[in-house]
């Protein structure tokens, strides 16, 4: 059911990856995505995939969770791969030709590399959310966006909105489950019928859900005001973020990977 959604789910643990500073992890995730798009060599992909495998093993996240995070995007990957395969015009001899369909070797190449990139991207980004509490993630974002405060950008408010939104995802999921169960108990039929009927069957779930979301928002606003919340000015934190040797090490590792990939691009023969 809805509870099976894993994107953004934290997987508790005490590994090195869990202990790395969330700011560093956030930066390195972006770094990793950039790396993925720099790769022009099959050895580069092996490095990128190998890194993920090792990282997941260190973080002790079961393989099943990885599959779960890729599952929802498999149709998209297949769809784009097929489009790439048929629509890329190559200069070399087509591998396959029939009527208006033509598959060029360049098309196959692009389809495969794009698929690998997207999978690595999703799995890599999931690693961040698996090993970082959403709350530390928003702290990290607030900290990293700090310089924008000088431009009067409401960084604190943005971070607060994000953490509240994240905080209420599980609550709303639970609420949805409850309302669904309650309406099912009254004979709601959510599983059969055509598209129109199914959309109509959602009304008894969505209306109570919206009403309760608004009620919760109002209650939360009141509770925050009752505790004199007034934005980010002069606010200090209970848990300060500190970079440690671990973070320096992680960063160096990524620099090494970057150098490796650039060298491979420059000197190794292009294998793909």
């Amino acid at each position: 059911m809805i509870k099976d959604i894993t994107i953004g789910q934290y997987f508790p643990g005490k590994s090195v990856l869990h202990r790395t500073d969330p700011r560093m992890k956030l930066i390195l995730t972006v770094f990793y995505i950039v790396l993925l798009f720099l790769i022009q060599n099959i050895l580069g992909y092996i490095i990128a995939i190998g890194f993920l495998v090792v990282a997941y093993i260190i973080a002790k996240i079961p393989f099943k969770m990885v599959l779960k995070s890729i599952k929802p995007i498999i149709p998209i990957i297949i769809f784009t791969a097929i489009l790439n395969m048929f629509f890329i015009e190559g200069e070399s001899e087509p591998l396959f030709e029939w009527w208006i369909f033509r598959i060029a070797p360049e098309g196959v190449k692009l389809a495969v590399t794009m698929a690998i990139r997207v999978v690595c991207l999703i799995v890599g980004a999931s690693l961040l959310t698996y090993t970082t509490l959403p709350i530390s993630l928003t702290d990290a974002i607030e900290d990293l966006l700090g310089p924008l405060k000088k431009l009067k950008f409401p960084v604190h408010e943005l971070a607060m909105m994000m953490s509240i939104a994240l905080r209420f995802i599980p609550t709303l999921v639970e609420e949805t489950d409850k309302i669904m169960a309650a309406q099912k108990a009254r004979g709601a039929d959510l599983e059969s019928g055509n598209l129109m009927q199914r959309a109509k069957a959602l009304v008894p779930i969505l209306i109570p859900l919206f009403i309760s979301a608004f009620r919760r928002a109002e209650e939360l606003a009141l509770a925050m005001e009752a505790r004199c919340y007034h934005g980010g000015e002069n606010r200090t934190r209970l848990k300060q973020l500190h970079y440690t040797k671990l973070d320096v090490f992680a960063f160096l590792l990524f620099v090494l990977m970057l150098v490796g990939i650039i060298l491979l691009n420059l000197y190794a023969p292009v294998l793909i």
Partner: protein, 286 residues
Amino acid sequence: MIKLEDLTYIYSPGTPFEKKAIDSINLEIQKGEFVGVIGHTGSGKSTLIQHLNGLLKPSSGRVLIDGQDIWAEGTDRRAIRFKVGLVFQYPEYQLFEETVYKDIAYGPKNMGLDDQQIDVCVREAAQFVGVSESLFEKSPFELSGGQKRRVAIAGVIAMRPQVLILDEPTAGLDPKGRNKILMQIQRYHEVEKNTILLVSHSMEDIASCASKILVMNKSKVFTYDTVEAVFSRSEEIEKMGLAVPQITRVFHELRHRGFDVAPNVYTLAQAKSEILRLIGENTAKG
């Protein structure tokens, strides 16, 4: 009527959040019984009742309603849900229709009844819970908390279930609203003679209505017995951290102090006759 065989349910199996919510439960509830269900938060009460109408699928074990395994192949679980009506905690949060009448009619409509039958069901259910017909055309969101609750309960009663399960129907209501709802449930039970399961934290509520009590503790059934039998074990129940009715506590203390009173007093009327009996005996001796 309801029979549970070795029922076990595990939440989120295979993840670090895995939890056995109910553990090999065997239970048989007869037709027409009024069962009070008590237990701590997290003792598995809510999980248990969601199995009775097929909302949760047991991890292992069977649920039989009228001798029919509800997870056997080809069983129409929607039909089971009309037979076993479940009123969730804070049911007023599931109201959604434009008018009170339409909301109560949602269940019967899903059953596929025609308009005339629906009308009969709705009026009957509204009468049971004391929702006057003048409210029918109002929006359910305009009502007071107690009224909303009663409309929501009517929405389940309108399906004329043979078994009615209520999860904490009085939670968060003022004493007047509480008594009103309890009395209506009792009257409904007397008129319809159907099976009722009432989950509650209040021993007083349960002592005043139920004929039997099911005590849940740590995902297991601690005991399922008549009210007298259960409250005569009040010391064990208090040890689990559950309260017994105040009057039962008073009588236990009396026994401790050497008065010869019955161990299973749980209503004021019983207490009165018990004390009168004791005074009578003492004056006879004196």
